[in-house]
């Protein structure tokens, strides 16, 4: 027998035993199962959960954090942290509030996207040139950006009513535009991850930065670009939110950033870098949205909600961790 045949025969015997079961029960399935369980619970208490309207509500809400999470996930995949999410999100919102009343929606939206881009590039340049953990660098930068934003809006909250409510509206009166926006971003990201040189490069960089460098990958360039794209996505998600609720809120803050990272991790993005996929990220974000919505419909008291979410995350992690170790 040649080496290959030997290996194949050994592989076949012990693989068939474990493969079917473990292939089925992976991280994503765990997420889906939890969502199904939650869905069943809610529906028993409140039929409205399964109404089309409510399901669209969930996905619309999810679209905001979903778009931002895709950005944060890209950064995580390259092996870095990006804690500037909340800050960029807030600042772009305030920027819109500042400019739109005077200059119109187009200027407002463009400004938000450009600001996101600029913040992203700055973050990327600092992270790639300062020799310290990106956790603390982006933490500090987030503070700086927030500070800049606060100087702009002086802590007030501005009404944006009437200015651009497109993301509140629906295409053909049925599917909210926000879901379309989310889908576009998800599909674009999925295509980039799987079919472009750029996507391949960021996974390899996250997997082993030094080896990537020695293999000719321009690590710094890709990292800065990823941060820049993330910044634009944060700006975009801010646009979607503002148009949904017609208000540029006061201060979103760190909890938003952490929630995005949590959703990404639940979805299979590894904090060390090099692993993750769009479907998983979407499921992670969906889980958050679904549970939040469920808690509202079940009339769970607001103060209990944090506990519920925390416990669900821990359960999801334990189960998928357990399954992985069986592998």
């Amino acid at each position: 027998m040649s080496n290959k045949e030997q290996y194949a025969s050994v592989a076949n015997t012990s693989m068939t035993r474990t493969s079917k079961l473990s292939r089925f029960f992976n991280q994503k399935t765990v997420l889906v199962l939890i969502m199904i369980v939650v869905a069943i619970f809610v529906t028993i208490i409140n039929q409205n959960f399964l109404s089309l309207k409510n399901l669209f509500n969930i996905v619309s809400a999810v679209s905001v954090i979903g778009i931002a999470t895709i950005g944060a996930s890209m950064v995580l995949i390259t092996g870095e942290f990006d804690l500037t999410l909340g800050a960029v999100f807030s600042v772009t919102a305030w920027l819109m509030a500042l400019l739109t009343p005077t200059y119109g929606a187009t200027v407002g939206i463009s400004a938000a996207l450009v600001a996101g881009l600029v913040f992203g590039i700055v973050t990327g340049l600092v992270v790639t040139n300062v020799k310290a953990n990106s956790f603390i660098i982006t933490l500090a930068l987030g503070s700086v950006y927030t500070g800049i934003g606060l100087l702009l809006n002086r802590g007030a909250y501005s009404s944006m009513s009437g200015f651009f409510t497109i993301f509140k509206e629906k295409i053909f009166g049925v599917i909210p535009y926000s879901i379309i926006a989310l889908l576009v971003v998800l599909i674009a990201a999925a295509l980039v991850f799987k079919y472009t040189k750029f996507g391949r490069a960021i996974f390899l960089t996250g997997s082993n930065q030094h080896a990537a460098y020695l293999s000719g990958i321009k690590v710094k360039f890709y990292k800065v670009t990823v941060f820049a794209i993330a910044g634009v996505l944060y700006g975009l998600s801010s646009i979607v939110l503002v148009s949904q609720i017609s208000v540029a809120m006061n201060y979103i803050g760190a909890s938003y950033t952490l929630a995005a990272i949590a959703a990404a991790v639940l979805g299979g993005v590894v904090l060390g870098g090099g692993k993750g996929d769009v479907l998983g990220i979407f499921l992670g974000v969906l889980l958050f949205g679904l549970v939040s919505n469920a808690m509202i419909l079940m009339n769970i008291k607001p103060y209990w909600r944090g506990i519920v979410i925390g416990v669900i995350i821990l359960i999801a992690l334990s189960v998928s961790g357990y399954l992985e170790s069986k592998e």
């Binding site: 080496n3 290959k4 030997q6 290996y7 194949a8 050994v10 592989a11 015997t13 012990s14 693989m15 474990t18 493969s19 473990s22 799987k194 079919y195 472009t196 040189k197 750029f198 996507g199 391949r200 490069a201 996974f203 390899l204 997997s207 082993n208 030094h210 080896a211 990537a212 460098y213 020695l214 293999s215 000719g216 990958i217 321009k218 090099g274 692993k275 592998e327």
Partner: protein, 500 residues
């Protein structure tokens, strides 16, 4: 614990360990008697490391019994193993870099002073005593991250002697060492044997087996193939047991300057590391770089490839200046670099084979989109040509054996069509069978007119393969041996040698 009357110190019965897709150990029986050196050999992936990890307690077997000093153990862990007197010297150094040498030596059993507080001076004192008895010349009060790779290996070895050892397990202990240190190690092992310590010794280096061993067991594909007395066996028999088929020795047909074209390295320097190194290689030649560990070999090639910043140095190909400014530049100019320590430097372990092999070629190409079908086909071709053993090219690289991992790295540079290949220790940690395949591969590359620069600590390998060998010592290339001068004795002589 008492050694039972029959002098059987350790025994494993029908040990089995499965991993997804691989049977690492299949009903392995192994035994060890008092005061003997029982060698364990086999190809990469044969199961040697798995077996000793079970004995060291860091892995649990799926079935089977481990018997130590007459008592059965189902679940060992490192703490228990060490308590039983089993000390393991692993292939990788597991050292805490930011702690001192002394603290690393006594990590599992840090010494206290009378007041009960941790006492670094006691650790240092006792470490010094151990070092003295081992004839080691390292200051135990320095931080581990200031040591050279050889010194770190020495510390890992010394660590095994911090507790009273009854069973000493050595996994490829000499892979990173030079002659001098190797000899000290062998002396120490012999001293231990005199004290009735039992030794399990894993090595790819069959010479060492014949030097030290009493018995030798061959594993192949997780099964025990044979256990024999060393004096009753010869190298060919062992290799046959390991591979399962007859294989011929390799000799290389060297012809200097077979093709036109010359690569010149001129005055490479970096303060304190490399001093004014120049050499030239013709197409179709293999230029070897020899020298002791720490003499500046890897540092030199890192300068050439553009990884580290140099003070001086030019690289000319047929008179044209192709000095790389950085790795990206080097790759664009047709240079490839198979780095030392492939797991850290050359492989994305948790990505599939095809992504690892295609990376350089992919990045070099323009165009934003991947062509997956073409990519996989090219990779499959290379994989077949190199005989990479894996269920498919979608397999994660971390699941491959050392030899196959190295083939993946070679595949990467082959696909990228590198003209000039720098190889840094290309056959370290690779079994005999795969090594020979790689030798054929390198020879084949020279026949295609490529230029090869090869660093190796394996003197016979260097002597057999290379047309010329440049010997490094303390950052300088002290001598370049050519053709007939390329012999093991010469290489060793200039590596260690006196002033010249």
């Amino acid at each position: 614990m008492e050694i039972p009357d029959n002098n059987l110190v350790l025994q494993t019965k029908k040990i089995t360990k499965n991993y997804p897709g691989v049977k690492a150990l299949d009903n392995v029986d192994f035994d060890l008697y008092r005061g003997e050196v029982h060698c364990l050999v086999g190809k990469n992936g044969a199961g040697k490391s798995t077996l000793i990890e079970i004995l060291a307690g860091s892995i649990k077997p799926d079935s089977g019994i481990v018997e130590i000093l007459g008592e059965e153990y189902m679940q060992l862990n490192p703490t228990k193993s060490i308590a039983l007197g089993i000390e393991t010297i692993h292939q990788e150094n597991f050292l805490a870099e930011d702690l001192t040498v002394a603290e690393n030596i006594f990590l599992g059993n840090l010494k206290r002073n009378k007041a009960g507080f941790f006492s670094i001076s006691r650790c240092i004192k006792e470490a010094s005593e151990i070092f003295a008895s081992l004839q080691v010349n390292i200051d135990p009060s320095v931080l581990v991250n200031t040591l050279t790779p050889v010194e770190k290996k020495v510390i890992s070895i010394a660590k095994a002697f911090s507790e009273e050892v009854k069973i000493l397990i050595l996994d490829e202990p000499t892979a990173a060492l030079d002659e001098e240190v190797e000899n000290k190690l062998f002396k120490t092992v012999k001293k231990l044997l005199a004290k009735d310590v039992s030794v399990i010794y894993i090595s790819h280096n069959l010479e060492e087996i014949f030097l030290l061993g009493d018995r030798v067991t061959v594993l192949r594909d997780g099964r025990k193939v044979s256990t024999r007395y060393v004096k009753e066996v010869d190298e060919r028999k062992l290799i046959n047991d390991m591979i399962g088929e007859e294989k011929n020795e390799i000799t290389r047909d060297k012809k200097a300057g077979t093709k036109d074209g010359k690569l010149e390295a001129i005055n490479f320097s970096r303060r304190g590391v490399v001093k004014d190194v120049s050499f030239s290689v013709h197409r179709g030649e293999i230029f070897g770089i020899g020298g002791l560990v720490g003499s500046g070999r890897t540092e030199l090639v890192s300068l050439i490839f553009g990884v580290d910043k140099k003070d001086n140095g030019r690289l000319l190909l047929d008179g044209k200046d192709i000095t790389p400014k950085n790795p990206v530049d080097a790759i664009n100019k047709g240079i490839g670099f198979l780095a030392e320590d492939r797991k850290s430097n050359s492989l994305m372990l948790y990505r599939p084979i095809y992504e690892n092999i295609s990376v350089v070629d992919l990045i070099k190409r323009s165009g934003a989109f991947l062509k997956l079908k073409n990519e996989k086909k090219s990779v499959q071709d290379i994989s077949d040509k190199l005989n990479i053993v894996a269920p498919s090219i979608n397999q994660l690289v971390i699941r491959l054996s050392g030899g196959n991992q190295q083939k993946v790295v070679f595949g990467k540079w082959l696909l990228a069509n590198s003209d000039i290949l720098i190889l840094d220790e290309p056959t370290v940690g690779i079994d005999v069978g795969a090594k020979e395949e790689i030798y054929f591969l390198i020879d084949d590359l020279t026949k295609q007119g490529k230029i090869i620069i090869m660093i190796s600590s394996d003197t016979p390998e260097l002597a057999a393969l290379c047309d010329k060998v440049g010997i490094m010592r303390a950052g300088k290339m002290v001598k370049i041996l050519e053709l007939d001068e390329v012999t093991e004795e010469n290489i060793l002589k200039y590596s260690i040698g006196s002033q010249s």
